[in-house]
């Protein structure tokens, strides 16, 4: 199979249109099952009570905020290195969804923090570096739209995305490097101390957010392709 076939906006447009509804559908099913596990199957936490159920959106949103930034930076690097149009368009399409999940992670963290730590916000290393991530997403979106020539916007934003990559290990290791209010990692490659039903619900929601992100990015990139390629024959023939 020639994978470069799909690097053309015209062919990717059709592929994205075919795939996006499947990912949205899968996201809806995974969300329903994940919430069933999170609210019905998973037991009440002995220390935190019911409020711990915020983790079923807080943790997946926080993971997605970092993962989407990494993918956005990878597409940015590809667009800079190989001068690919589609790479830059994909990076642009991921940014709003990444910003959304960063906001959700910060917001839900605040509403988890108030009953458990006694405060909505603290200038703790994990929270502050996550807030920096939100500003990086905003900066990427603003910079990519700041130029009349979209290709110049693509290059400027791609550079910012690559520079901002340094923030990802800071977010991840902040709870190890500094003495933070935020707890350390509960789920590790070596295992977890979580109840199996809690872990199942959380992982289902991670996959739900992941498939939703793919669906949203594919839908958005189709609009970006149409906007950019509107003077081409294949778009006018649609």
């Amino acid at each position: 199979m020639n994978w470069f076939y799909f690097s053309s906006p015209a062919t990717f447009y059709r592929l994205a249109g075919w795939l996006a509804p499947w990912f949205f559908g899968l996201a809806a099913v995974l969300t329903a099952v994940g919430l069933y596990y999170g609210f019905i199957v998973a037991p009440t936490d002995a220390q935190q009570g019911e409020v711990y159920r915020v983790i079923f959106i807080h943790v997946p949103a926080a993971w997605m905020s970092m993962f989407l930034y990494f993918v956005m930076a990878a597409y940015s690097a590809a667009s800079l290195t190989f001068n690919t149009r589609l790479g830059a368009m994909m990076a642009r399409s991921l940014a709003p969804t990444g910003a959304l999940f960063t906001f959700v992670a910060l917001w839900t963290g605040a509403f988890w923090g108030r009953p458990t730590w006694g405060t909505y916000w603290a200038w703790d290393a994990r929270m502050t570096s996550e807030l920096v991530l939100l500003f990086l997403y905003f900066g990427f979106i603003a910079l990519s739209n700041a130029f009349e020539d979209p290709r110049r916007g693509d290059r400027a934003a791609a550079l910012l995305a690559l520079i901002g990559l340094v923030n990802l290990p800071i977010i991840y290791f902040s709870v190890h490097w500094w003495n933070t209010l935020h707890q350390g990692s509960t789920v590790k490659l070596t295992g977890t101390s979580m109840h199996v039903a809690m872990l199942t619900g959380m992982l289902l929601m991670v996959f739900a957010f992941w498939t939703y992100s793919i669906g949203a990015a594919l839908t958005r990139v189709r609009s970006i392709i149409l906007e950019r390629e509107r003077r081409t024959r294949w778009v006018r023939a649609l």
């Binding site: 159920r53 959700v104 006018r236």
Partner: protein
């Protein structure tokens, strides 16, 4: 302790944020379609 407020604020805000994103996706799609129509009109005038 009643944790309903914190749970509703978390899940409610997430649902609203996702609904807003879906609405912006639809709005952007409509805008792209409008731009193509404008291009077609310009072409027809030439």
């Amino acid at each position: 302790m009643n944790h309903g407020f914190y749970l509703w604020m978390s899940y409610g805000a997430t649902a609203i944020a996702l609904a807003i994103e879906m609405a912006t996706l639809a709005a952007r799609r409509a805008r792209a379609r409008r731009l193509i129509e404008e291009e077609r009109d310009l072409e027809a005038q030439d």
